[in-house]
Amino acid sequence: MSTYEEEHGIQQNSRATQEIGENSQEEQRRQVRSQLQGLFQNFGSSGGEGNRYSDSTLLLQLLSQLLPESLQEEWLQEMDKGKNAGCPDSFASSLPRINKRKLKVTDNCSICYTNYLEDEYPLVVELPHCHHKFDLECLSVWLSRSTTCPLCRDDVMGHRIINEIDTTEAELEEDWGMYG
């Protein structure tokens, strides 16, 4: 979304805060201020990550109501575009590479159906959380249009925040597979 829209939203909001502050009690003022703060925090973080977190979608929709009607539609379209698009380019290249020695002869990429070891220098990466492996080249193309794992539909971008909470079991299983 453009800075103009962002500024516009902020302007209108701060004006609203002022009005309420003048006409009401101290406590109400504080409440409104903290609410707005939360709103802007969410707005800021989702703006930076390209609107990919569904939990901030509602807030963005609410915020969009503060915009003039002519801009609202444009903004909502922009949001939809963000939803359909894939991960940022840097995401796929930031994924951990898999050492050639850890690849079995039968392992193949489920996107191109090629055995990794057919290539003398296979460039294989692993997705966080679900640990599914793919050729970097194949996965990059897929992640430029989607944010899900091709094998299990796990939302690969979704775990960057809640990673700590629910990966413990998956990691445990993976470890058993590696050493057992």
Partner: protein, 165 residues
């Protein structure tokens, strides 16, 4: 070697086998092959009607377009025109409404065999919530099993008659 070329090899090997482990599609997919050997972008398939459905004992002809962006985008799959009566198929055009073939639900790990198998399963389990053929959808929604069976069987009998007479 491109992915579709690899698939072609696998398909030939799979469908030629009598071993149910190698070929889990026996009695489901009769054939799946490119229309012209030199062009792997246009395919056709023949599937058997699933047993215990009104489609039993009939065969259905499926046309497949494989886009150049495949497998990143799904293949386009249609029945032959006027080949089938089903609540998720527009009979006149053969258009199929099947979630896994929509770009937002597609994943590149699926291949043509999966897709054709999914179409076969659609014959067994019609989805009346999103019908392309609203009338057929309504009949299923009313749970009027005998009407549904009767209409489909009549359509297919007529289909056979117009083909061979």
């Amino acid at each position: 070697m491109s992915r579709i070329t690899k698939e072609y090899r696998v398909i030939l090997k799979t469908l030629a086998s009598d071993d149910p482990i190698v070929n889990p599609y026996r009695g489901i997919i009769r054939s799946l092959n490119p229309i012209d050997e030199t062009d792997l972008s246009r395919w056709e398939a023949k599937i058997y009607g699933p047993s215990h459905t009104p489609y039993e004992n009939y065969q259905f002809h499926i046309l497949i377009d494989v886009p150049s962006s495949y497998p990143m985008t799904p293949p386009r799959i249609n029945f032959e025109q006027n080949d089938i009566l089903h609540c998720n198929v527009k009979s006149a055009t053969g258009e199929i409404c099947l979630d896994i073939l929509k770009p937002e639900d597609w994943t590149p790990v699926w291949d043509l065999l999966h897709c054709v198998h999914a179409v076969w399963r659609l014959l067994r389990e019609p989805v009346c919530d999103s019908p392309l053929d609203v009338d057929m959808g309504n009949i299923i929604r009313c749970a009027d099993e005998s009407a549904y069976q009767g209409i489909v069987k009549y359509f297919l009998a007529e289909r056979e008659r117009s083909r061979y007479h």
